[in-house]
Amino acid sequence: MTSFLKSREALLALAILVLLAMIASRFPAFVEPASLANVFNDTAPLMILALGQMVVILTKCIDLSVAANLALSGMVAALLNGMGVPLPLILLIVLALGAALGAVNGLLVWKVGIPSIVVTLGTMTIFRGIIFLMTDGAWVNAHQMSDEFKALPRHVILGLPVMAWVAVVVIALFAVFLTRTPLGRSFYAVGGNPHAAVYTGLDVGRTQAIAFVISGTLAALTGYLWVARYAVAYVDIAGGFELDVVAACVIGGIAIAGGAGTVGGAVLGALFLGVIKNALPVVGISPFWQLAISGSAIILAVAFNARQGRKAGRIILKSAEAGA
């Protein structure tokens, strides 16, 4: 119990509660259950993407192409819908597409050995370029989407929209997957100590490639949810969202150097950003300050991370330690 209270997740949860209390003092309606459910629902895409990103970061990589993958998959979903393809089939095709896009990243990292930041920086632009080639820059708008296509993420079950439930299911699956399966544990092993991982028979590159496929698949899932929810698809949707995703992971205590981090941390990190994003419009803070506030929160979290993660270090020569 005491170890839980000292854990990063508990501190982050506490920070979110303090944040909510501060917001409530200015705008009490924000903490009503319906409003909180709305915040959770709104943050669902960020949570899903953060979990995908977390797996990639665990293996010492980074996936900057998630938002572009989301946009491409979302556009393909919208276009398929326009052709009259039934929704279940659309979802299958889009998830396969997302996995394939992730595999492109993964294979380039694994087989060609290019650093992941370079690979995904490239594919990020390529994916958005592909959307442009497919559509000539045209938008797919609400009246061009079927009602069924738009309704699914909004459909309310037990007080929460389907989009929020999708996030809940993904979180639950990841909690089991990362702690209870050999593959889940291998992500930690590969990122924590790649050399040791090789000696235990793990293929580092292959594990990294699998992480990218997972991240890509989740990005595609989010792509459909995003396009259906905002009822619009165009080249620039979710522009810059990859940085929010990485920020959510960093705030959630996923070590950027790999090998450490929890599902709870990533989810809370995403929620922390989600609460800020949803609260800023209602608490009446000048829009000129909003970006600065979001940015400060990220830096504070990283600074905190760095302090906590610093190893105590072994003192070898007492006299030298005193001298320094």
Partner: protein, 330 residues
């Protein structure tokens, strides 16, 4: 281009110059530089530019722009156009000041430079064509809201970014005319950064914060769509009217659902057409100076003010009665 062809072109030009007939030996290459490729509004402007080119006969349109709305991207595009030696650049700028030095360089090389839609600082262009006058747009967006709230009430503005040149001027003009609409009470101005998700959240925030809100005015295409969706999802159709500036093809769904009763936009086709005509005429010797009147084909003539700026026409209101007709155009 082969050396032979280059030599021939030079010879042809020399002959043309010596003949001094005033006819153009070469086609004019006019570059239409937009904020970013892939935005419906600018694609429509390109249609208008092509229409002008067809009408003029000896014009080739180069439709170009960066892939995202950054000044840096536009500067690269401008530099490459200078290298290609185009005859004229007509630009809708992402930043009024940042692109000015590159455009000055273009003017030094005898390239005609005009800005349209989103302006460039005075030293960076020969003239600027506003789609409409900012005062008229500011008035129109308030009027659109007032038309559908006879008893008056609260309205809020959902803009693009807090640094968008256009939106800020329109909002300033809109606040000036507010006293003419006694029932209309402007309660807030928020910024959705032209991102669908942020605009949606800002609209949700407005709905939650102002229970008596009667209208959301969004003078940006991303914002008006996101706000319509937020109002629809909140079940507030009929209670809150979303209006502002949007494109018919994008707004058709919102008008059909009733979330938006009416909205306005100038005709981007006309705008691209007029910008091309102006660039062509200035490139052919028309003087861009205060007080000058430069013809722009079927759009009449542009009269320049002290800042070498001109307005094209009034914004046009779209509603359920004409959206079907326009949604397939742009």
């Amino acid at each position: 281009m082969s050396i032979l062809r280059k030599a021939l072109t030079t010879a042809a030009m020399t002959v043309a110059l010596m003949a001094a007939t005033g006819a153009h030996a070469e086609t004019k290459r006019i570059a239409l530089v937009v904020k970013a490729l892939g935005i419906g509004f600018f694609e429509a402007a390109n249609k208008g530019a092509e229409e002008a080119a067809k009408e003029l006969g000896d014009v080739e349109i180069i439709y170009t722009g960066p892939t995202d709305t950054t000044a840096e991207g536009q500067i690269e595009v401008i530099n490459s156009l200078i290298a290609q030696g185009v005859d004229a650049i007509a630009i809708s700028a992402n930043d009024p000041d940042a692109v000015a030095p590159a455009l000055q360089k273009a003017m030094e090389r005898d390239i005609t430079v005009i800005s349209w839609d989103s302006g460039v600082a005075k030293e960076g262009r020969q003239m600027h064509l506003n789609p409409s006058s900012s005062a008229l747009i500011g008035n129109t967006i308030i009027k659109l809201a007032a038309d559908h709230m006879p008893e008056g009430g609260d309205v809020a503005i959902l803009s693009a970014t807090s640094t968008s040149t256009n939106q800020n001027i329109w909002i300033e003009e809109a606040t000036k005319v507010l006293p003419n609409y006694p029932g209309v009470n402007l309660v807030a101005t928020v910024y959705g950064d032209d991102l669908a998700d942020k605009s949606y959240r800002e609209a949700q925030g407005l709905i939650a914060t102002y229970p008596n809100l009667k209208a959301i005015i969004a003078p940006t295409t991303v914002g008006i769509l996101a706000a319509s969706q937020a109002v629809t999802d909140a079940g507030k159709i009929g209670a809150i009217n979303v209006t502002g500036l949007g494109l018919p093809s994008e707004m058709a769904g919102a008008v059909a659902s009733g979330a938006t009763k009416s909205f306005a936009i100038w005709n981007p086709i006309d705008l691209g057409y007029a910008a091309t005509m102006l660039a062509y005429n200035i490139s052919n010797g028309a003087k861009a100076e205060p007080g000058a009147s430069i013809p722009m084909g079927r759009m009449g003539a542009a009269t320049l003010d002290d800042n070498n700026e001109a307005a094209m026409s009034d914004p046009f209101t779209y509603d359920a009665s004409n959206i079907e007709q326009f949604k397939s155009i742009f």
